[in-house]
């Protein structure tokens, strides 16, 4: 028996399997618990912003409301449309959730506390996060519903366009850190990269919002237009999984923003993991805040924003970062902070004037 175990689980250096097991459990618990907490947090925060109370019946301050919701979802009937593709319909939530969980494999909760310190960590995230789109498209296609299909098409279109500026803005960070590993990127942030890469942060955040379909880019499930988009025909726990995937992605984006731009777990006084959670919560709060504030863009405006606004700025940002690193290797990073912030303000204003967004008003 022991021999069989030895054969099956070769004794890799660094207590590999124990590490693997522990972190898989941690990631599952972290994602599920945090998503539940965030759902509660979003509903309460939105309620405060919208002059209402929000859930306050189940548990203290309605804290157990997500638990009640999940129990309700688990007991609901699972409906598959009569002319839908039964297998694809069943598989779609799985395909959507799995990559979302896999993202957290390389997110460092604190120094060294991550499932795998891949030396291509951020590249891995970029690659794996796009797979969720396949799940969403499967959901839209298999439902055999026109609203679902429209929603899924919108999702694919937005992810395809927004992937490019997002990746380009990540490269700026990678240039500064000199590594693709999430751990190393945090280590390199003596100054949070949000100060060194303000434009990169802005582009990444906007692009990420569009990729995870949060307002104002929540076109794929625009409830006032296409009912519920790709998950119109879903019910019960399959819907719950799609919902989990969506909120898990919002959580993942918060975690990635924290790691790339907000110096991850680093911070004074508080324990590192708490710093990490606080920062993630802060980013998520901003996402919720945006959701309650602005209207939704139209699909062509979404595309125009990606190609005319984000992409050129991302290229320019990359260029400037590269020149700065090449030209001033000796200059203190603190000098680059005001320079980069000034560059960001000028560029954003010019571009919005050029493409008539903010300053030039209306019409992208």
């Amino acid at each position: 028996m022991a021999m069989a175990m030895q054969m099956l689980l070769p004794d890799w250096p660094g207590n590999f399997w124990a590490h693997w097991g522990v972190f898989v459990v941690i990631i599952f618990v972290f994602v599920l618990a945090t998503v539940m907490g965030f759902i509660w947090f979003e509903r309460r925060a939105m309620a405060v912003m919208q002059a209402r109370l929000g859930p306050n019946r189940v548990g203290p301050f309605g804290f157990l409301q997500p638990v009640a919701d999940v129990l309700k979802l688990l007991t609901k009937e699972d409906v598959v449309p009569a002319k839908g593709d039964r297998w694809v319909h069943w598989l779609a939530p799985v395909v959507a959730v799995a990559p979302m969980l896999m993202i957290f494999a390389v997110v460092p909760f604190q120094s060294g506390a991550l499932l795998a310190d891949l030396n291509i960590g951020i590249l891995y995230i970029v690659a794996i996060s796009s797979v969720t789109t396949v799940g969403v498209f499967m959901a839209g296609w298999s439902s055999n519903n026109k609203y679902s299909l429209l929603g899924a098409m919108r999702q694919v279109a937005s992810v395809v366009s927004y992937e490019i500026p997002v990746v380009l803005s990540i490269i700026g960070v990678v240039l500064l850190a000199g590594s693709l590993s999430m751990q190393q990127i945090v280590m390199a942030q003596d100054i949070p990269f949000i100060l060194l890469q303000p434009l990169g942060f802005l582009l990444f955040f906007i692009g990420a919002l569009a990729e995870i379909n949060r307002a104002p880019f929540d076109l794929m499930e625009a409830d006032s237009e296409i009912v519920a988009g790709f998950n119109t025909e879903y019910s019960g726990m399959k819907w719950g999984l799609l919902f989990l995937a969506e909120y898990g992605e919002a959580l993942a984006v918060s975690a990635i923003v924290t790691t790339l731009f907000l110096s991850g777990w680093r911070g004074p006084v508080l324990p590192p993991w708490l710093w990490f959670l606080v920062k993630v919560g802060l980013v998520f709060f901003v996402i919720v805040w945006i959701r309650t504030t602005v209207p939704r863009v139209r699909i062509d405006q979404l595309m125009a924003l990606a190609w005319k606004f984000l992409l050129p700025l991302a290229v320019i940002n990359l260029l400037i970062t590269a020149v700065e690193i090449l030209a001033w290797p000796e200059v203190s990073l603190w000098v680059m902070v005001p320079v980069n912030i000034a560059i960001m303000i000028v560029l954003v204003l010019l571009w919005s004037r050029f493409f008539k967004l903010g300053w030039g008003r209306v019409e992208v």
Binding site: Q50, L150, S224, T292, P295, R296, L357, V362, E363
Partner: protein
């Protein structure tokens, strides 16, 4: 030979078969404001054609009214445009008073104007809130606006005990006088409301996304608006200065000073702005009416069963959604011989198809929302 065929293959034009498909938007859809159905032909996201289907909420109110006494019809009018019941009551009572030649006491006229203008604000709050919600501003604007609508509903409850279907106006006056606490409450509301309207403006008036979404979208040209006999904010947003309160003054509207806000482009944004400005004008009227409110009777001596002389009458008012008219024919009996409603929303809807064609699905929702219909009035 092989090379040639390969070249031919690569130059062959790839034709992807794409054909328009039909989507039924409604009758059960989050933003059809009731049970309206749009049989929409889409080419991808672009609207090729749209065919409105209504009648899902038809209750035969016009026929029902012919079976009831003149006073008994008033509750039915509540159920026409349930977001503006007071205005419906007023229009109907005006028509009966015209038919039977009944005079209304001074105080009742003022109370009627106060109620009608409060109702206009309440209705526009819903209209603007729902429009912004359709634009995707998730719930925030509409909840802020419902907060103030609630205050108006409290005032109505004070006056007549109801919050949605008021049944407050009577032929020859109103059902009961306003209570003592009404005037201070209204005064407080008038003091606070301008600030709230400014707050709505701060929320979204200059928001880039809203401008991009609503400006230039769903244009209703001036000529078309006049030709389809559109009315209300929809007409005024197209630049036509036409308001029944000024054009054909009823009740005591000729005593008040107010402006008619108009738009220029006739797009969704103008319709939204016109409604916001109209709320401000309504507040002006309310202030004047509160100041001049005389003492006295609120109801003239009218028998319970009215027998107007044989003939016909048409009474119309500027309801929140447009020119609301009631056409009555009397055969000298206790019930109207013929009862017809000129529903402004139904007539405003006739331009819907022209406004929508060529725009995208996302625009369909906001164009439809900017017309501000109430299905109970469209279908009757």
């Amino acid at each position: 030979m092989v090379g040639k065929s390969k070249a031919m293959e690569t130059t062959k034009e790839v034709v992807i078969k794409a054909e328009p498909f039909v989507v039924n938007i409604g009758p059960a859809h989050p933003s059809t404001h009731g049970v309206f159905r749009m049989r929409t032909t889409l080419d991808g996201e672009v609207i090729v054609d749209m065919e409105p289907v209504f009648g899902y909420l038809h209750r035969g109110i016009e026929k029902l009214a012919e079976e009831r006494t003149y006073t008994g019809v008033i509750p039915l009018t509540d159920r026409l445009d349930y977001l503006a019941s007071m205005s419906n009551n007023l229009a109907y009572c005006l028509a009966v008073e015209k038919l039977a030649g009944i005079l209304v006491p001074e105080r009742a006229e003022y109370i009627r104007v106060i109620m009608a203008e409060l109702q206009r604000i309440a209705s526009h709050l819903i209209a603007v809130g729902a429009f912004l919600n359709d634009c995707g501003a998730f719930m925030t604007p509409i909840l802020y606006m419902l907060r103030e609508r609630e205050k108006i509903l409290d005032l109505f409850e004070m006056a007549c005990g109801q919050r949605l279907t008021y049944n407050y106006m009577r032929v020859g006056g109103v059902s009961q006088d306003i209570p003592e606490e009404f005037a201070p409450a209204l005064g407080k509301f008038l003091k606070e409301m301008p600030g709230w309207i400014d707050e709505y403006d701060q929320l979204l008036k200059d928001n880039e996304i809203l401008l991009a979404r609503a400006k230039g979208v769903g244009i209703l040209p001036r000529e078309l608006a006049v030709n389809i006999s559109a009315s209300g904010p929809v007409l005024r947003a197209s630049g036509v200065k036409w308001d029944i309160r000024k054009a054909d003054p009823y009740s005591i509207y000729d005593r008040f000073e107010f402006d008619i806000p108009t738009g220029t482009a006739g797009d969704c944004y103008d319709r939204y702005r016109v409604r916001i400005e109209e709320m401000r004008q309504s507040l002006r009227i309310l202030e004047q009416a509160m100041k001049d409110l005389p003492k006295g009777e609120v109801r003239s001596d009218v028998p319970h069963l009215i027998r107007p002389p044989a003939g016909e009458a048409y009474g119309h008012i500027e309801a929140p959604r447009g020119d609301l008219g009631f056409y009555l024919v009397s055969d000298n009996s206790i019930a109207p011989y013929r009862f017809h409603v000129r529903a402004p929303t139904l007539i405003n809807l006739t331009a819907l198809r022209d406004m929508m064609r060529g725009w995208k699905v996302a625009d369909l929702v906001i164009i439809f929302g900017s017309i501000d219909i109430c299905l109970a009035e469209v279908d009757r």
